[in-house]
Symmetry: C2
Subunit: 385 residues, 2 copies
């Protein structure tokens, strides 16, 4: 199926299929690129990157560019190295960058496309659930600074997004859960009418049939469309998509791989809901729905032991939403809900100034006492395998 994506003045098609990689390659060839630069991480390269290059070869010039897997490679050095390699191979203005992978690859390749020759064509081939949802209705091509996540980047639109649910079969359970946490976010922050679908479809063991995944993806895109259709820069209504992300980013950054992006955002949503509840904005039922949906998705509802909450608090000071509210003292700028699907607004944005101490108090209560659990395995996050 084809969904036409409209973001302000930007339009591009999203193709969603199952077991149709041949068709995907035909769509790439229709772009008549002087060269196809396939960008993958080291996990996705053997699974799908080489396959796509092989299918293109003989009919077009195609290169495979591989970067290290994981959030720690999403920095300007990686982008620079890949751009130099691409330029050395002969990439020019008529070439197309094809991001085959999860969110990390999508952002790295997206920023490459934005910066090479001040903008060449970009196609996303998302291979994770998160990327299928995020690469479509977000034009953010953001990478990490030494000071925090996603502080550096730009806005850049793809020519098209080519998604095939069959690639999700190789996705580890951890990554599927991560994606479903973002789906839950859409239901909580934007689209309450998705709730029944999720209550019926979510699987704690992440064992999803393709037929179950397609409506979940379509509904999630519909949720995004509601808030970003006229806000391609995600600084007004689109900011509802940042629900759970203030605390979530700080947790993810501090956890060094012990939490997936989605699970970190899930915990961030629980913190936001608790904070909103204690400030008298959100009722107990909606707070409970947060934990219910996240549990059904297979996600944790407690902060794993071993995460340094002081470090989390330090990271929160660098959250990139602070500047919107001009905060200076001990306060964070967060998306809070007044009810399901209804963020609270300050002036022209769905952001609220929240006392720092309250956030840290709620966070501490969500933490697993050290003596009750085994130490978490501190594996680097595989963006996608």
């Amino acid at each position: 199926m084809k969904i036409e994506i409209c973001l302000g003045s930007v339009r591009f098609p999203f193709h969603l299929s199952t077991d149709a990689l041949d068709e995907l390659v035909e769509r790439l060839l229709q772009l008549s690129a002087s060269r196809y630069v396939i960008v993958c991480d080291s996990n996705v390269a053997p699974l799908y990157g080489k396959d796509i290059v092989n299918r293109l070869s003989g009919r077009a010039v195609a290169d495979l560019l591989v970067h290290g897997a994981g959030e720690q490679h999403k920095n300007l050095q990686t982008v620079n190295d890949l751009m130099e390699t691409a330029l050395r191979s002969g990439t020019d203005r008529a070439s197309v960058i094809v991001a085959v992978g999860g969110g990390v690859t999508g952002n790295i390749a997206g920023l490459m496309a934005a910066l090479m020759f001040r903008g060449i064509r970009l196609v996303h081939v998302p291979t994770s659930l998160v990327a299928m949802l995020d690469s479509v209705y977000s034009l953010k091509q953001a990478i990490n600074s030494g000071l925090g996540k996603n502080l550096i980047g730009t806005f850049y639109a793809p020519e098209e997004v080519l998604a095939d649910t069959s690639v999700l079969r190789t996705l580890p359970r951890r990554e599927m859960i991560s994606g479903m946490c973002e789906v839950v976010k859409n239901a909580l922050a934007i689209r309450p009418q998705m709730t029944d679908l999720l209550l019926n479809s979510l699987q704690p063991d992440s064992n999803y049939a393709d037929e179950a995944l397609r409506p979940i993806i379509v509904e999630s895109l519909a949720a995004k469309k509601m808030v970003v259709a006229d806000d391609e820069q995600e600084c007004r209504a689109g900011m509802a998509l940042e629900y759970g992300h203030t605390v979530g980013h700080a947790l993810e950054y501090t956890a060094l791989g012990a939490l997936s992006h989605g699970e970190a955002v899930g915990l961030g949503m629980i913190v936001a809901a608790e904070v909103s509840h204690r400030l008298g904005h959100l009722d107990e039922g909606t707070l409970a729905l947060h934990r219910d949906l996240l549990s059904r998705a297979g996600a944790t509802c407690t902060v794993p032991a071993g995460i340094d909450l002081d470090e989390v608090a330090h990271r929160l000071r660098f959250d990139n939403k602070r500047g919107y509210l001009g905060l200076t003292g001990d306060a964070y700028a967060m998306v809070l809900l007044g009810a399901q699907g209804q963020p609270l607004w300050t002036d022209s944005r769905p952001l609220v100034e929240v006392p720092g101490a309250l956030v840290r108090e709620v966070l501490a209560e969500l933490s697993t006492p050290e003596e009750l659990v085994a130490p978490p395995s501190l594996m680097p996050t595989a963006d996608n395998v």
Copy 2:
């Protein structure tokens, strides 16, 4: 005086004054930035950067960020280092990046502003003649790759441009000549009606009164306005501004500082004019006018000895305009004139496919035989002092 700059949907003011740094600082303060990040090279920092920080201090938070002087620092590593420093100091979305300097600083700071938090406010305070002309009607924030000049970057507009001719008094003669070559380019490629002004005002010794500079600047801006008003990305009519730049960039890159940007472009224009003449497009008088105006501006009309023409030819292969014409064989994509102010078009662009051998032949004829001259001093280009 204030000139309103319009580039497609982008609008910002250009203020041109003389001896009015106080007023300039007042304009900066009107932006109510959470922090002013003044970006300079190591030459401009002691001359103007520190002074502007001092004038802001006490009334606002201001930092001075200094990068090495010269084109060799215009790379992604410098941009990354400065961004990390700025973030560490507490730069946020409400901060303003102020580029105080020449074209190199303008591009470095411009890309910083474009990439930090996916775009924060930018003000240009150009301290060279080139920067006064280029930073205004060009939104290109481009830096160098290991493979060639300006291959990496994006389009980003400043909030305003604040120019004061008094700062040009500290500009070395070499840099003033560089700027005047760009002025000559505007007269040749775009605006023949500037010719008399230039014939009367150009000074080979670069000794210009402020009263002489202002009309030259205003006329040059008028020339740019003619071609880029509806082409903010400079890929259609605006490409006339690239006149002389194909060969010019390759010469400048190879010369390692022995040629200023403007002089390299001047030579590039002479090559383009000779090529166009030999192809039967351009008459002898207009060709002679190229040499006449460039000589009056104090610029060289011969390629200095010591520049490796094989290396220049190699660089030409990576020119970023190749992709527009889809060139594959021994040919370059160049802006050529059919008459003064009238570039030749191919399809929808003022670009022509030129045989590579002809360009190299003309270049060789323009070169000073090695035995006739002293070796050029290979000083690194001071972007501005």
